[in-house]
């Protein structure tokens, strides 16, 4: 259940990925299909539908629907001790074979007058035990004859838990706020750079209601985290046009928060045009993080601990990602285009992963497919 619920938590933070569509005001429709599978028997299949329609020279409206169908056939407990808590047993029995479907519609309006772009929208998602609601807004302004673009983004969510294990939570809300500030600068006719700062604040019940910790045969407790979290992220990204067939992009991000989690992420990607129709790329990503200040070495928890973590994300680990993107467009004038990507993701070995999943690390494959039609 932990892994399933994790697919829904923090979704608000994804909203800024809804790019500023107003940079290309045109009518389009797309159908997509995304997948995720890992070595813990988690399978997610996500069809998406998107429609963008201009309503005037400067205005566009968009709607999007994402449906996540999740199946977690089983979670292995090769190394887990016997369950001794009735609550924990009930929770475990519900985890096995648990399926869920999340419906997540998004609607937004964009404005573009050539120098200014703005997008405002709202998001809603619902599944069995969690309701997500959020609003978001982005604004960008071109300066210096388009050499500089400054941007600001804001999102605020107000989510509600309703656990299906009859557990009463201290609070049932999970609210998150995010502000992004960015500056994009052209460095030459072939290179640009972007600096981003993000402020993130969360409050409410920030753990998952289901995971628990058993240690030396004793039920330590359900997972419990501090009820507020403040994070900061700094990123630098770059684009380099190498020649007519090759472009490279790279990024570095540093994240830090008041739970003492610090992380560093670097990624690089090369995109190559094979011909006028096909583009293929290759990329790599490396991520490393420290552990939270309340996560302990397994075996060191006591029943008097205020905070308990069973989620490996509260501990130190590394992860790696390699992927291949492909795009196809029948001709320059064609209204159709297709894009596909496949990525392999894996983490370093981690005791918490071993304890909860019975695997030394996580290995996952995820794909995306989009068929787009401009009309």
């Amino acid at each position: 259940m932990q892994i399933i619920k994790s697919f829904f938590i923090g979704l608000m933070l994804m909203i800024p990925f809804l790019k500023t569509y107003a940079s290309e005001l045109k009518d389009s429709a797309s159908f997509g299909f995304d997948t995720y599978t890992d070595n813990n028997d988690v399978e997610v299949y996500s069809p998406t539908f998107e429609l963008l329609k201009t309503v005037s020279k400067n205005w566009l409206v968009g709607v999007k629907l994402r449906i996540d169908t999740i199946a977690a056939a089983s979670i292995r407990y090769s190394s887990s001790p016997a369950l001794i808590s009735p609550d924990a047993q009930a929770t475990a029995s519900k985890r096995s074979g648990f399926d869920d479907v999340r419906y997540a519609p998004t609607a937004f309006v964009s404005y573009d007058d050539g120098e200014n772009t703005a997008t405002v929208g709202a998001y809603y998602s619902t599944e069995l035990d969690y309701i997500g609601k959020a609003v978001f807004a982005n604004y960008t302004r071109e300066l210096n004859q388009g050499n500089t673009v400054v941007g600001i983004g804001f999102s605020q969510s107000a989510d509600t838990w309703s656990p299906n294990n009859n557990r009463t939570l201290p609070v049932d809300n999970r609210d998150e706020r995010k502000i992004d500030l960015s500056v994009n600068q052209l460095l030459s006719s072939t290179a640009s750079i972007q600096l981003v700062y993000s402020y993130m604040y969360s409050e409410g019940f920030l753990a998952s209601p289901y995971p628990y910790l058993i240690q030396n045969g004793s039920f330590i407790g359900f997972e419990n985290y501090p009820d507020t979290r403040t994070g900061h992220a700094f990123a630098i990204k770059g684009l380099k046009y190498i020649d007519d067939a090759n472009v490279m992009n790279f990024s570095y991000r540093h994240y830090t928060d008041d739970w003492d989690i610090d992380s560093h992420t670097i990624s690089a990607e090369l995109l190559h045009d094979f011909n006028d129709k096909w583009m293929v790329g290759a990329r790599a990503r490396y991520y490393t993080q420290s552990g939270s200040n309340f996560a302990k070495t397994l075996g060191d928890y006591t029943q008097s601990d205020k905070y308990v973590a069973s989620d490996y994300r509260m501990t130190a680990f590394d992860s790696y990602n390699v992927g291949i993107p492909v795009t196809y467009k029948p001709s320059l004038e064609s209204p159709y285009s297709v894009s596909f990507s496949v990525d392999y993701y894996w983490t370093s070995d981690n005791d918490y992963i071993q304890n909860w999943f019975g695997e030394s690390n996580i290995k996952a494959v995820y794909t995306t497919l989009r068929i787009n039609y401009d009309f």
Binding site: T20, G153, N184, Y199, T265
Partner: protein
């Protein structure tokens, strides 16, 4: 403090127009290339952003602006 520094940088960039004009409009053709985007596959960026959020304890560092020639 860090927010103040970034806001100051933005204001500085806003007030130094001439100093930062490095590329003239007729030199921006390469930025119109679809590959010249910080997220060349927007759907992948959305999907993987979701996955990284559920697999890692970090977030942020994203901007609505992903590139483009700005030369309409």
């Amino acid at each position: 403090m860090k927010i103040t520094l970034l806001l100051s940088l933005i204001l500085l960039l806003s007030g130094c127009s001439d100093k930062l004009v490095r590329v003239m409009p007729y030199e921006k053709e390469h930025f119109a290339d679809p590959k010249m985007s910080l997220s060349p596959l927007a759907e992948r960026a959305e999907h993987e952003g979701h996955i990284f959020l559920i697999r890692e304890a970090s977030a942020g560092g994203d901007s609505a602006y992903q590139g483009g020639c700005g030369c309409r």
